[in-house]
C-alpha cells in the first residue's frame, strides 16, 4: 500500500471511442498518482490523450461512443468508479474541477458571469442564492475582475478576462484537485504570463493539487513539481522536474527537448522528431514510439511496462534492459 498522501490514484485507465470508422484508442492503461498539494504537468503532443484523460477523471467521457475501463480510480480516497450519477454531480465542481482550453467558448453566452460562478457555489455549498451571488462577486475580485462586472455577459469580456472567469468558476468551491487543460493556449503571451501567475498564487492559497495539461515545457518548468510525458495514450516517463528535465530517460522525451529552439545558438536548426504520432485507431504493437525511435530494437515490439530509475523517476522503455543502454542526451 502506498504510504504517500494521495489526492488522486488511478490505475490502468483505458478509454476508447467506438465509432463507425473504427475504434479510437485514446488512453491505453494509464497510471497516475498525485500527492496532496503537488502540481503535475501532463505533457504531450496534440492527440496524445491528455484531454481525454482529464475528462475521464471527471467521469465526463460521452458514452456512447466512449468506453472506459479502469482498475481503480480514487479521488482523495473516494472510489470514483462506484459513484452514481447523482453522487458524481456532487463531486464535480466541488472536489475536482476543470479549466478548459478555450475561454472564448467555455462560458455560456446567455448567462451573466456572476450567475455562472454563483451556480457552482449554490450547487455545492449550503447557501441561499443571494449568498452564492455575493461569494461569486468576491471570487471575481480574487481573480482580479471588479465585482460590479458580475452582471455582465461573457461577450463583454476579453479573452484573458474570460479565462479568469473560468478560473473563478473552477476554484469557487476550493476543489482538492484542479485540472487545467491548456489554460493559456488560446491567449496571447503577455496574458498567458498573467493567467499563469494567478493560477500559481491561487493554487498556493487554496492548497489545491493541480494537473496542468500542456504542450509547453516552459509552463511545466514554471508551475509544476512533477512531470508526466504522454505519448499515444500512455505515460512514457514521469518524475520530478529535475528527473525529467535533467536526467531524461525516454527517447521520446529526449526528442521533445531536442526540438526546442536553443536560445544560445539562434541559427541552429531545430531537430524535429521524425514521423508523426501514430493514428489512434491503429497503434503499433509494443512501444507506440518504436517506429520513430532512433534506439529501436527487436525488444521494442514486445509489450512495455514501467521501470523505476529511482524512487521518483519512472520510464516505460524496454531499451533499459539492454546492458549499458544510454540515450544521447544523458551523455552530454
Amino acid at each position: 500500500m502506498d504510504k504517500r498522501d494521495l489526492v488522486l490514484d488511478v490505475k490502468n485507465l483505458v478509454v476508447r471511442y467506438e465509432t463507425e470508422d473504427g475504434i479510437v484508442k485514446a488512453v491505453n492503461g494509464l497510471n497516475l498518482q498525485i500527492e496532496r498539494g503537488k502540481a503535475i504537468g501532463l505533457v504531450g503532443e496534440t492527440g496524445a490523450g491528455k484531454t481525454t484523460t482529464a475528462l475521464s477523471l471527471l467521469r465526463l467521457i460521452p458514452k456512447p461512443p466512449g468506453v472506459e475501463e479502469c482498475d481503480h480510480m480514487f479521488l482523495d480516497g473516494l472510489d470514483m468508479l462506484s459513484l452514481s450519477v447523482k453522487e458524481l454531480e456532487k463531486v464535480r465542481g466541488k472536489d475536482i474541477s476543470m479549466i478548459f482550453q478555450d475561454p472564448m467558448t467555455a462560458l455560456n453566452p446567455v448567462l451573466t458571469v456572476g450567475d455562472q460562478i454563483a451556480e457552482s457555489i449554490f450547487l455545492h455549498e449550503d447557501v441561499s442564492y443571494a449568498e452564492a451571488r455575493k461569494r461569486a462577486i468576491e471570487m471575481l475580485e480574487v481573480v482580479g475582475i471588479p465585482g460590479e462586472r458580475a452582471n455582465e455577459y461573457p461577450h463583454q469580456f476579453s479573452g484573458g478576462m474570460k479565462q479568469r472567469v473560468v478560473i473563478a468558476i473552477a476554484l469557487a468551491c476550493h476543489p482538492k484537485l484542479l485540472i487545467a487543460d491548456e489554460p493559456t493556449t488560446a491567449l496571447d503571451v503577455t496574458i498567458q504570463a498573467q493567467v499563469l501567475d494567478l493560477m500559481k498564487n491561487l493554487r498556493k492559497h487554496y492548497k489545491t493539487s493541480l494537473i496542468m495539461i500542456t504542450h509547453d515545457l516552459g509552463i511545466v518548468a514554471e508551475i509544476c513539481d512533477e512531470v508526466a510525458v504522454m505519448y499515444s495514450g500512455n505515460i512514457v516517463e514521469r518524475g520530478t522536474l529535475e528527473d525529467v528535465f535533467n536526467k531524461t530517460k525516454h527517447p521520446y522525451t529526449e526528442g521533445l527537448f531536442n526540438s526546442l529552439p536553443n536560445i544560445n545558438d539562434r541559427k541552429a536548426m531545430l531537430t524535429p522528431i521524425k514521423g508523426l504520432m501514430p493514428d489512434p485507431t491503429n497503434i503499433p504493437v509494443g512501444c507506440p514510439f518504436h517506429p520513430r525511435c532512433p534506439y529501436m530494437g527487436e525488444d521494442c515490439k514486445q509489450p512495455q511496462w514501467e521501470r523505476a530509475i529511482s524512487d521518483t523517476h519512472f520510464v516505460r522503455c524496454s531499451a533499459y534492459d539492454r546492458p549499458g543502454f544510454r540515450i544521447e542526451r544523458e551523455e552530454r
Binding site: 471527471l58 465526463l60 450519477v85 447523482k86 454531480e89 456532487k90 463531486v91 464535480r92 465542481g93 466541488k94 474541477s97 476543470m98 478548459f100 478555450d102 467558448t105 467555455a106 462560458l107 455560456n108 453566452p109 446567455v110 448567462l111 451556480e119 457552482s120 450547487l123 455545492h124 455577459y153 461577450h155 463583454q156 473560468v166 468558476i169 473552477a170
Partner: protein, 309 residues
C-alpha cells in the same frame, strides 16, 4: 432599446406602402366588376356610371390609391360593397377570432414540438430520435384539412365530445387549434432538434457539467436558452402563417375568421373588403415580426448589446 423599436417601427412604413400599392393595383387589374353584378340586368350605361361615381370607383388609379391611403390613415378603409358596412368594422369584428385561433394553435404546436425536439436532440441517433423525426415528417406532410376532417369524424361525430364548427364556446376552438397546431408542430420540431443539436456540442455545456450541474439543468437551463433563437424566428413566421394561411382550417371548421372573409371577398369581387383585409394583415404581420425582434433581445444579451449602441 426603445430607439431600436422606434427605428424598426418606422421601417415598417415603406413595407406597408409597397404592399398596399401592389395589392391595390392588382385588385384593380382583376377581372370582374362589382358594379355590374350589383346593378339590375337592365340598367343603362348612364346609371352604371352614376353608381361608379357614387362608390368612388372613378378616376385614374393613382388618384384613387392616394385617396384610399389618406383615408387609411384615418382608419377608414371604405365601405364593403357587398356587405354595405365599413370594412374596418367588418375586419375588427372577425380579427379577434383569427388571432385566437393563431394563438392557441401556436400553443399547441409548442407543447408538442419543443419537448419532442429536445428529446430527439438529446437522444440523437437512437430510436427516440427516429420516432420523433418520423412523427414530424407526418406532421409536415399531412394536409391540414384532412387531419381536420379526421378529427371531426372522431371527436364530433363518433364521440360527440366537441363541436364540429362555429365559435360558440371555448370548446369550439379546440379542434381547429389542434389541427393547425399539429400541422405547424412538424416543422417546429425539426427546427428545435437541429438548433439543440448545434448547442449540445458547445464547450460551455461541458463547463456546466464539470461544475456539477445535473443533466436536466444542463439541457433546460444552459442549452435551451441558447437554442431558442432559431425557434423564436420560426415561431414568428409560424404565427404569420397561422394568421394568413388558416383559410382551409377556417373553412373546414366554419370558423368566422378573417382569412375566410378575405377569400369570400375576392370571390364576390368585393375589392374594397379584400384590399382592406390584406393591408390590415400586412400591418399585423409586421407587428408580429417586430415582436419577434424584441423577443430576440430578451433571449440573447449579444443582440441586446447591438441594439443599445
Amino acid at each position: 432599446m426603445i430607439r431600436y423599436i422606434v427605428k424598426r417601427a418606422v421601417m415598417m412604413i415603406p413595407v406597408i406602402l409597397a404592399v398596399s400599392f401592389v395589392v391595390y393595383f392588382l385588385m384593380d387589374l382583376a377581372p370582374g366588376d362589382i358594379v355590374t353584378s350589383l346593378m339590375p340586368q337592365d340598367a343603362t350605361e348612364h346609371e352604371i356610371e352614376m353608381m361608379r361615381e357614387e362608390m368612388g370607383l372613378n378616376g385614374p388609379l393613382i388618384e384613387r390609391y392616394f385617396r384610399y391611403m389618406k383615408n387609411l390613415l384615418k382608419g377608414d378603409l371604405g365601405v364593403s360593397l357587398s356587405m354595405k358596412r365599413p370594412v374596418m368594422e367588418v375586419f375588427l369584428e372577425r380579427f379577434p377570432n383569427t388571432l385566437k385561433l393563431a394563438f392557441w394553435s401556436i400553443i399547441v404546436a409548442m407543447i408538442i414540438s419543443v419537448p419532442l425536439g429536445i428529446a430527439a436532440a438529446t437522444h440523437h441517433r437512437t430510436w427516440v430520435d427516429g420516432v420523433s423525426m418520423i412523427a414530424s415528417m407526418i406532421g409536415v406532410s399531412m394536409p391540414a384539412f384532412w387531419l381536420g376532417i379526421l378529427l371531426i369524424l372522431l371527436f364530433s361525430l363518433k364521440l360527440g365530445w366537441l363541436p364540429s364548427g362555429g365559435s360558440s364556446s371555448f370548446k369550439s376552438i379546440i379542434l381547429p387549434a389542434l389541427t393547425l397546431g399539429t400541422a405547424q408542430a412538424g416543422n417546429l420540431t425539426r427546427i428545435t432538434r437541429s438548433s439543440m443539436l448545434e448547442v449540445i456540442r458547445q464547450d460551455y455545456l461541458r463547463t456546466a457539467r464539470a461544475k456539477g450541474v445535473s443533466e436536466r439543468h444542463v439541457i433546460y437551463k444552459h442549452a435551451l436558452k441558447n437554442a431558442l433563437i432559431p425557434i423564436i424566428t420560426i415561431l414568428g413566421s409560424t404565427f404569420g402563417n397561422a394568421l394568413g394561411g388558416a383559410v382551409v382550417i377556417e373553412t373546414v371548421f366554419s370558423w368566422p375568421g378573417v382569412a375566410r372573409l378575405t377569400v369570400t371577398a375576392i370571390n364576390t369581387r368585393d375589392m374594397t373588403l379584400a384590399t382592406g383585409c390584406i393591408i390590415m394583415f400586412t400591418i399585423f404581420l409586421n407587428l408580429t415580426l417586430l415582436l419577434v425582434d424584441i423577443a430576440y433581445a430578451y433571449v440573447d444579451p449579444r443582440i441586446k448589446a447591438q441594439y443599445s449602441k
